[in-house]
Amino acid sequence: MVTFLDVVERALTGKPCSEREYDLKIFSTKLMEKVKEYDIRYDPQNLVPSDNSLADDVFKAALDFYCEVGTYCKDTERIIKFDENEARERLKTAPSKLTFGEGTDAGTLVPRKPEDKTLPWCFCGAGGVAVSSEQIFSKLVESYARIPIANSITTPALTRINGIRIRPESPLEILGAIRTVVLGREALRRAGRPGLPIMNAISTADSAIALIAGLHPEFGLRPTDSYMIATLAEMKTNFDLLNRACTLLSLALPIAALYGPIYGGYCGGPEGTAVATVAYHFMGALVYQAGWHLAFPIHVKYIASSIPELLWVASVYAQAISRNTHLLALYYNYTSAGPCTEMCLHEIAAQYTSAITSGVSMETGGIAGGKREDYLTPVEPKFTAEVAHAVAGLKREDANELVRKIVPTYVDKIANPPLGMKHQECCDFDTGKPSQKCWDVYSKVKKELTDLGLEFK
């Protein structure tokens, strides 16, 4: 069994290598070799492929690949490696279910399979996207908690403390982390769902020191919340991230590992991105000893994941993981368009139809590329969760047909999408409730999808 201390030791004693050599000669080169060896091919006609052997080949390619390339530690400039037996053993011993939340708001995250009727876990909220004020933060979290089918909440990140922009690893970041926790918990109470788990704790903490500060029990986080640790593109970590894992593991707190492989970057095209996404799950399970996994393959230019190639990646990686492991895997999207636009909802519908029918659960994602402060409303997460429930159980073949009908509604606009509206422009200041215009857009797109054959529950 690989322990966390083994990981740290390997970070110190693994093969020395420059970062550039790792990127170009090891990661990228080996990835292309595996894509070729396993003959993995993107098929634009089958964005949600029904071919099980493709998913299984992607899984095998990813396992081979990861055991050959390992994870690069930026601080030691060495490669942390695992052999296939260690990887397979970890996949067997990884949690097959985890319970989050308290009292009547508690729930259990379980693995799913392609075409599974089991409803996906709906992790609803901001996806860590930034907001400019505590007022907007609180109103949004309250609204997310009022989504009836939300199983857990993802809070926004604060960018300012008392109007001062947060700087990394500064007292402002520590204050931001603490305030995120306190405000998030209070907002859930106000919404009448105090036991709902916060599963991206702590969104404002980008450093280990801020995470550790926000963990103090006085501020309100619980062992039944969950805690995220990012990986670095591609297949890298550093001491700060390992410090977070060390702290969380020592406190027996459930860790989610985050993976954002970049389509067009060192992963290359859709085939390489799919293999890398699966390989990242092995990294998370082994390096961070993660209990659950969140993947968001993303476009190098558009900071969106709704192009057809990335819908295929979402489906193929989800099938590879769900068919070959019991890992608790969630998908997270980035839309190109902003809130309160039809295009944004179309992108969401295509993305989650691809991923959910392929066997994973979901976190609602980054709207407008997740990069614009305050471009958040509760409508998009609600819509996302409803789509996820509606498509659960759909045959992959039918999902493919549906996705192929949705894609043409937005694909030509990805490079120049409508920005939509800021929270301040489309939600009531005091109540946080979205305007009628937001609901009109929501109803229109839901009707379109219903006309295409989707049955909302």
Binding site: K74, T159, P168, E169, G176, I262, K301, E373
Partner: protein, 216 residues
Amino acid sequence: MSKEELFKKLSDAVVACDSQAVVEAAKQVIEKRIDAVEAIEKGLSKGAMIVGEKFDKLEVFLTGLMMAADAMKAGMDVLLPAISKEKVVKKGTVVSGTVRGDIHDIGKNILVALLRANGFDVYDLGTDVPTSKFIEEAEKVKADVITLSALMSSTIGGQKDVIDYLRETGKREKFIVMVGGGPTTREWFEEIGADGWAETATEAVKIASELIKKKK
């Protein structure tokens, strides 16, 4: 082999990311006493432009772009010593880095590769760069442009810190400052008083060229 054929060989070898072929062709340029400036413009730079355009359309991915930049650098190392200092025409000198507290480098790496491919002299400071380091380096190399990358909404404040530091030390007018990265927007660039902002690295190269021309 004619001059034109040699230039094509240089360009093709850059597109093929074949450093060895680039070096061989560059050596032939020197041996045949062909104008090295012309070889850079019509051979190496042309190849690099082709790769940049292909990357923009994602016909080539980042690995190809980085390797083509390496191939171009290998050719420049052979050709530059043959050019007298007065004849070396650089588009500009750029100091690039990701701001303090931010360890993300892919966006910055793309920008550096594209700037180099387009004839800029680039000093890459890496990631998590302290505020004053950008300025020290820019003064040392007499930079035209400082580019500040940031990937996180929690780290873009570092871009403002560099601009404020320049302003408060009376050095703001010495450099063109450009900002970029995932969470940056037009509103942000205007708010902090940067000179340029781009959503993509390709646009950033164009804007840097325009801003340098305008300043000169």
